[in-house]
């Protein structure tokens, strides 16, 4: 049975916490094992941080749209902001030796580490991040289709 839950949220730190808590609750209810619940909640938190900080830049007139869709195969989480879009080409590899001691720039890397599929679609009217965890998929390691 498919089910979609959607939230429209302000560009605040509370939204980040709300997104994480919702992800934890929904992933738990869907029966994901504890380690995968943690991975999903962390990935969603990082996506929400990206939307609130880097996308909407805390702007009070801009919203974050968070949606959870559950199919038989997948949990699909979509996080959209209303910012100017991110330039994926400008995101340095946080594992490169010259970047290891940087204090930021690990959010997208962590999302890709924890989810089975990560799709990021930047545009002038905002960025959409789609995070997919297979219901019976490999935990953690194997990624496919990451952008």
């Amino acid at each position: 049975m498919e089910q979609t839950i959607s939230y429209t949220l302000d560009s605040t730190l509370e939204t980040v916490d709300h997104a994480e808590e919702s992800a934890t609750r929904i992933a738990t209810e869907l029966g994901f094992p504890e380690d995968e619940v943690m991975q999903i909640s962390m990935a969603v938190r990082e996506g929400a941080v990206n939307a609130v900080l880097h996308g909407n830049a805390y702007a009070p007139d801009k919203k974050v749209i968070l949606a959870f869709e559950h199919t038989q195969e997948d949990l699909v989480i979509t996080i959209r902001d209303q910012g100017r879009g991110i330039d994926l080409g400008c995101i340095p590899n946080p594992l490169a030796p010259e970047n290891l001691l940087k204090t930021s720039g690990r959010g997208i890397f962590l999302m890709r580490s924890f989810m089975d599929v990560v799709e990021i679609r930047p545009s002038q009217t905002g960025t959409e991040i789609k995070l997919i965890k297979h219901v019976h998929g490999p935990s953690g390691g194997g990624k496919e289709g990451s952008q």
Binding site: L53, L95, L100, L101, T103, S104, L110
Partner: protein, 114 residues
């Protein structure tokens, strides 16, 4: 849920006992302020005891890196103590585990300072 920090001295080393979450917002700010305050008062041998830290996000990881480099740049040393599995795994996948000096025994951590 929120973060708590307390400091104590052991043989000239400052142990910062951390509990809760090191995440964007209050947790990260508390960590930054505490380390900067210690350094400003001349406490340059610092151990962050993360044994009770149950959650850390990318901002929290950034704060650990910032604490490490800030201390080092001021001629001090910062070590991490008692990593939980979650924090240990995060430092492994971000390749930071070997950057930090990580200890699992407080006495050994204190003794390891030059």
């Amino acid at each position: 849920m929120s973060m708590k920090l307390s400091t104590r001295q052991v043989d000239g080393v400052t142990i910062v006992d951390c509990s809760g979450r090191i995440t964007l917002g209050e947790g990260s700010v508390m960590m930054r302020d505490t380390v900067r305050d210690l350094l400003s008062k001349g406490n340059k041998k610092i151990v962050l005891n993360l044994g009770e830290v149950n959650y850390i996000d990318s901002s929290g990881i950034g704060e650990l890196v910032s604490a490490f480099t800030t201390t080092k740049n001021q001629g001090g040393e910062l070590k991490l103590l008692n990593l939980t599995k979650k924090v240990h795994d995060l430092l492994q996948i971000t390749k930071l585990y070997t950057v930090f000096d990580v200890k699992d025994d407080e006495a050994a951590a204190v003794k390891a300072f030059k």
